[in-house]
């Protein structure tokens, strides 16, 4: 048993070393922790189904929900797509750690890029009126006697475009989005919550020493 765990430990360490070279913001030690936690998540997932090489959509979304408090279905789906860079419907260990580096330690630029990708539903490098409409739908409590329930949202989209669409082409390009967010940071998560809440990051449990998981996990080894 101890032999296996020793071997495990060694592979984890090499893996961590490799990944930490490719991923920003995390030290090797931190990556090690993340790998271990990823393995725990994988184990939980495999218990209930066939073996895959990464987190599937369901597990990923429930993880987002339970650990990061992200509950908006419209967004969590998009977050999965964004994490899953190679589009193979699972989030591999590398993708997971990559994504978390933005999630937890991302600079403003990285976050802008990430959020823009989440919001650009069809991947055409622009957020169109329709996309905004889709993402904002239902965010206004409907006025009972209004004829068009989406009228308010449509109006709101115009207000947003007026503010953020600097080149006046009727949609938000990445440059538009970037400029608007740099201008007013509040607009980072303009169309839906797709980053963990500040408090989750600051939470003692995910404190700086171990970026994400408690130190007690480390002690087990």
């Amino acid at each position: 048993m101890s032999k296996i765990s020793a071997m495990n430990k060694r592979t984890t360490q090499t893996l961590a070393e490799n990944i930490s070279k490719q991923v920003e913001h995390f030290s090797k030690k931190e990556v090690e922790c993340l790998i271990r936690e990823f393995n725990v998540l994988m184990a939980e997932q495999n218990n209930s189904g066939r073996a895959v090489h990464g987190l599937d959509r369901g597990k990923f979304i429930s993880t987002l929900h339970s650990i990061f408090g992200l509950t908006d279905d419209r967004m969590t789906g998009r977050v999965f797509r964004t994490f899953d860079k190679d589009n193979d419907s699972v989030v591999s260990m590398k993708e997971w750690i990559d994504g978390l580096s933005v999630f937890l330690r991302g600079t403003l630029d990285e976050k802008i890029k990430y959020c823009f990708t989440v919001y650009d539903l069809n991947g055409d490098n622009a957020i169109s009126r329709e996309e905004m409409l889709h993402m904002l739908k239902g965010r206004l409590i409907r006025q009972p006697n209004e004829e068009d329930p989406d009228e308010g949202i449509k109006d709101l989209v115009e207000i947003i475009l007026k503010k953020m669409d600097y080149d006046h082409d009727g949609k938000l390009s990445f440059e538009d989005f970037e400029k608007a967010v740099k201008d007013e940071n509040l607009l980072l998560e303009a169309f839906g919550t797709c980053l963990p809440d500040f408090r989750v990051i600051c939470n003692e449990k995910y404190c700086v020493k171990s970026p994400f998981y408690p130190l007690s996990v480390n002690v087990d080894f």
Binding site: L140, L156, E189, T193
Partner: protein, 1037 residues
């Protein structure tokens, strides 16, 4: 007459047939005007006066047959005039009690006959002839004229001429014109009367109550213990009284607990403010009746009821000023409005005079000052004009029904109407100064956003907030839109959501709009301060900074500051200051900390204007933190930090801490900053702290004197100049500093600042000169720089603080003979002397000290003194002052003045001896010193020595010898020496065992003291010897 009758006169609200004119001052003057008009009608317009009325005016008169004289046929009680119309009917007919009159000449005559009952007759006439014009001119004519020719009567005259109508008609038209002119005249006079009346409205009352509430509580320091409405419910028109009382004009009821008298129950009504029988809660059927005079505002009433309030309110200068200006504003606006509406009523093309077309219902509504009408002025006017136009579009077809309504209509309308409207309007010009009727487009845009703000989730809310931030939130129209549309409430609610993005957005808006004072008040009223203070604990630094910044804005008035303290804000703000301000390299997080500390300092600066907050900041350990921040290189940090420190330096404890914690060095360093504001606060802090000697020395040590002098060159910035001169003044109290200042040529600049400066600068400049002039060389220097003349000129200033310093400076300069010559030439002695009349004790004593110097050094001071009428009486009178400093200074002055024998004689005549003797029981050494001097000097005349003895001055003087103070001992010894020349005094002294201390003093090093003591002992000894000799002599014989 038409309009004024129907619109201006106030009728009782009984049914039309028996309506009476209410006896109000306004109706009185109206009647007088009409009387005057009718009386002089015959002489002014003889032709028109003969015109026979279409129908007679008839009313029950108090005149009887015997009152009529020639020109009348009298048979029994009936009277008929000689004058008759073309058909032979008499123009005046009396069949008691009714009289029928058919021409103005007869009317005039009748009034002439009525003598002192004239007014009663006019009143009866008007009351029973509700439509005089219709009767005089005929119904069809009146309506014709009204509709077609109201605004252009002349053209009608022309037309009637063209059409060759009868001369009769022409006269009618002329008459009508006369009535019109008369109408305008009367209304104008009435308007003037109204303008003088103060009419209250709910807005004005509310304002006043709010302002007073700010000053409630706080024990003895507050104006009142409490002030509250009886009802929390406010109707949409701003009234709080129950509806059935609103009809009577009641606006609201207040229960006020003053600090010194029993609880007051107060009714605020449109007519004024008065005490009622004690309305505690709405619905209680207890005394709505008035139990006091009516006052025009709450403050006046309270002043008359509560002496404590009256005293305190005078101290609350700023607030009262604010209050009164505010009130003035509302009153003014209202008046303007009334004038406006009423004028329009006059000039509008409307048949208002005779045929008031307004339906009864509408008038009823306005009379009740009906509430829920939120039409704006123009809309309303428009709709009315429309109604009138439609009415007048059917000329000649004035149905009897309409006439009935007009007769039964409730007049007095223009006034009640304008007062209701003014309630709404009065706010609007205030809120939207640019436009009276059209709201700016921002208003509607913001209103739309607010809808989303209320309905949206977090994401939408953030967008809405961002969109709102894009408006120019410093613009008042936007601020008001945010308040009006309820956005402010939502913004404050967002602060409690825990969604930090929403909180950030909300605070970003709040920190901007809270520059508006009205919004600040609303924020505090909505308990916004609690929420903002709570955010100071947030882990998000940006939020903390924003919250602190918002507090900095909101805490501009007292109630807000108190709220910040009560909710623990001071402690939290002080915690924000904890950062490392002067590290060479900073991490982003440390930079954020500094930003937060900056905002915290800003907030503390605002809060520190309240004394209790100063104490709280100190208690929370704020001073060392401020001291640490003082080392920061950032100006944006230094300004609020130094601002707070200088604000707090009014407290003794802060001054000590500033000195002991080594902040003087940093303050001095920042005097050389390139920012005027920072320099000003530093100078001002030094000004306040330099009362203390060690601080003054520290300023010198850290080389702060030179930068202070160089600040004097910034003569354009008066605040900076005031602070810098203040610091120089206080620093120059130390002579070493004066020497330093001389090196920097401060004196010359200071002298040049004696002219054309605001008082706060002058006070400090003169104060500094007074200190500089303590050094003899500077006295001459001040003269050489031409400083004497402006100084003497300032003796006529009304500012007491300035006068204290000026007299001190003049006194100091006067010890130089050459200066004295100039002062004398400029009539300075008289000016100083006249300052003894100043009510302020400080000025009195300061002037008396200056007088000493002047009297001592002027050539013919004795004569000058005598030439001042009443001067000696004044001085002797001041000996009954209760202020020891005044007494000491006056004694010193008496001592100098009495050196001239003639003056002493006059002083003696004015009773200086008993006045001085009365003071001898004092224990104040300073006073004892000068008092003994004065007594010694006054002994030089006539029988004054004996008088002092008789007045019982000797025994207390002997006690002075026990004083430790050398000056007191010396003066006392001299006084005793003088007094001892009177044998009775010697006996008293001897009884009080004077000899032993005197003998002790003879051993003193001070020769004068030696001599005086010895002289006194000698007198006593001589008396004893003489006595013994006498005894021996008697014995021998």
């Amino acid at each position: 007459m038409g309009i004024s009758l129907t619109r201006a006169a106030q009728w009782t609200m009984v049914s039309s047939s028996t309506a009476k004119l209410v006896s109000t001052p306004m109706n009185e003057s109206l009647l007088k005007e009409i009387l005057h008009f009718v009386e002089h009608f015959r002489s002014q317009y003889p032709q028109e006066a003969e015109h026979v009325f279409e129908e007679p005016l008839q009313w029950s008169t108090t005149l009887v047959a015997s009152d009529f004289k020639t020109d009348y046929d009298i048979s029994d009680s009936d009277v008929q005039s000689h004058e008759r119309d073309s058909e032979g009917h008499p123009l005046l007919q009396l069949s008691p009690p009714t009289v029928y009159v058919r021409s103005f000449s007869q009317l005039s005559k009748l009034l002439h006959l009525a003598h002192d009952k004239k007014l009663a007759e006019v009143r009866a006439c008007l009351e029973e002839n509700r439509e005089p014009l219709v009767k005089i001119l005929g119904r069809s004519f009146a309506s014709d004229l009204v509709i077609e020719a109201h605004d252009d009567a002349v053209s009608v005259v022309d037309r009637t001429k063209e059409e060759g109508l009868s001369k009769d008609l022409e006269v009618k038209v002329k008459l009508f014109q006369l009535f019109q002119d008369m109408d305008k005249q009367i209304l104008d006079t009435l308007l003037k009367d109204i303008s003088e009346q103060v009419r209250l409205n709910p807005k004005a009352v509310k304002n006043e109550v709010e302002i007073l509430q700010v000053f409630c509580g706080g024990g003895d320091k507050g104006l009142l213990k409490s002030l509250r409405y009886t009802s929390d419910f406010e109707f949409s028109n701003g009234y709080r009284a129950p509806l059935w009382r609103q009809v009577q004009g009641d606006i609201c009821y207040l229960v006020i607990e003053p600090c010194d008298t029993e609880t007051l129950h107060i009714t605020c009504s449109t007519a004024g403010i008065f005490l009622n029988g004690g309305i505690k809660q709405e619905g209680e059927e207890n005394g709505y009746e008035q139990t006091s005079d009516t006052y025009e505002d709450l403050v006046t009433l309270l002043k008359s009821r509560s002496p404590h309030f009256a005293e305190k309110i005078n101290q609350q200068d700023s607030a009262v000023q604010e209050l009164s200006t505010k009130k003035e504003k509302t009153v003014n606006e209202q008046l303007q409005l009334e004038l406006h509406t009423t004028r329009r009523n006059i000039y509008e093309p409307r048949p208002s005079g005779i045929l008031s077309t307004c339906g009864k219902t509408e008038e009823n509504k306005t009379l009740k000052s009906s509430e829920d009408e939120h039409k704006n002025l123009r809309q309303r006017a428009k709709s009315k004009t429309k109604a009138e136009l439609s009415a007048s579009s059917s000329p000649g077809h004035v149905s009897s029904q309409k006439l009935k309504t007009s007769a039964g209509a409730l007049p007095g309308e223009p006034f009640s109407e304008s007062s209701t409207e003014s309630e709404e309007e009065e706010e609007q010009p205030y809120r939207h100064p640019e436009t009276n009727t059209d709201l700016p487009s921002e208003y509607w845009q913001i209103q739309k956003l607010v809808k989303y703000l209320k309905d949206g989730d977090q994401i939408v809310t953030v967008h809405t907030l961002c969109a709102m931030m894009d408006f120019n939130l410093m613009q008042e129209s936007c601020q008001m839109a945010i308040q009006d549309t309820g956005a402010l409430k939502v913004l404050l609610n967002l602060l409690d959501t825990d969604e930090h993005k929403c909180e950030i957005g909300s605070l970003k808006i709040l920190r901007t709009i809270s520059h508006n004072s009205q919004i600040r008040r609303v924020i505090v009223d909505m308990r916004g301060v609690q929420s903002i203070v709570k955010i100071l604990d947030s882990p998000v630094k940006e939020l903390k900074a924003l919250a602190a910044e918002t507090i900095a804005n909101v805490a501009k008035f007292r109630r807000a500051r108190r709220n910040v303290r009560l909710y623990g804000g001071i402690n939290k703000l002080v915690k924000l200051l904890d950062c490392l301000p002067n590290l060479a390299s900073l991490t982003p997080s440390q930079e954020e900390d500094i930003e937060v500390a900056c905002c915290g300092a800003l907030a503390l600066w605002s809060c520190s204007r309240s004394t209790k907050n100063k104490k709280a900041i100190r208690k929370a350990g704020g001073i060392p933190l401020l001291g640490r921040l003082l080392k920061s290189p950032l100006q944006k940090m230094l300004i609020p930090v130094v601002g707070t420190l200088q604000e707090c330096a009014s407290e003794e404890s802060y001054r000590t801490d500033i000195q002991t914690l080594g902040m003087i060095k940093d303050l001095v360093r920042n005097l050389s900053s390139d920012n005027d504001e920072l320099q000003m606060h530093c100078a001002s802090a030094i000004f306040k702290c330099a009362e203390d000697k060690q601080t003054r020395d520290l300023v010198r040590k850290y080389k702060g004197l030179q930068p202070l002098v160089s600040l004097l060159h910034k003569a354009d910035n008066k605040q900076l100049l005031a602070a810098a001169t203040g610091a120089i003044w206080k620093c120059s109290i130390s002579q070493e500093n004066v020497t330093k200042f001389q090196e920097y040529k401060a004196l010359e600049i200071l002298v040049s600042l004696l002219t054309d400066q605001p008082e706060e600068v002058l006070v400090n400049v003169v104060g500094a000169l007074g200190e500089f002039a303590q050094i003899p060389a500077n006295k001459a220097a001040i003269r050489e720089f031409g400083g004497i003349k402006p100084l003497v000129k300032l003796l006529t200033s009304p500012n007491q603080a300035l006068l204290v310093n000026v007299t001190k400076a003049v006194g100091a300069c006067a010890t130089n003979k050459d200066n004295m010559v100039i002062i004398d030439q400029l009539d300075g002695i008289r000016l100083v002397w006249s300052l003894l009349k100043n009510p302020s004790a400080d000025v009195q004593s300061s002037a008396a000290w200056a007088l000493c110097a002047c009297t001592e050094n002027a050539e013919d001071a004795g004569e000058t003194a005598r030439s001042l009428i009443g001067g000696f009486q004044l001085i002797v009178k001041l000996l009954s002052s209760t202020n020891n400093e005044v007494l000491a200074s006056i004694c010193a002055a008496i001592c100098k003045i009495a050196k001239d024998e003639e003056n002493l004689a006059i002083l003696t005549d004015f009773g200086v001896v008993p006045s001085l003797a009365k003071l001898t029981n004092t224990t104040d050494d300073r006073l004892r010193h000068h008092l003994a001097d004065a007594i010694a000097q006054c002994c030089m005349w006539g029988s004054n020595r004996a008088s002092f003895g008789e007045a019982g001055a000797v025994a207390p003087l002997v006690r002075y010898l026990k004083s430790k103070e050398g000056s007191v001992q010396r003066s006392t010894a001299m006084a005793l020496y003088q007094l001892s020349r009177n044998p009775n005094n010697c006996i008293t002294m001897h009884e009080k065992e004077v000899v032993q201390p005197l003998i002790h003093m003879m051993g003193s090093d001070d020769e004068e003291l030696q001599e005086a003591a010895a002289g006194c002992v000698r007198s006593i000894r001589l008396l004893y010897m003489a006595n013994r000799n006498a005894e021996l002599f008697t014995f021998r014989n």
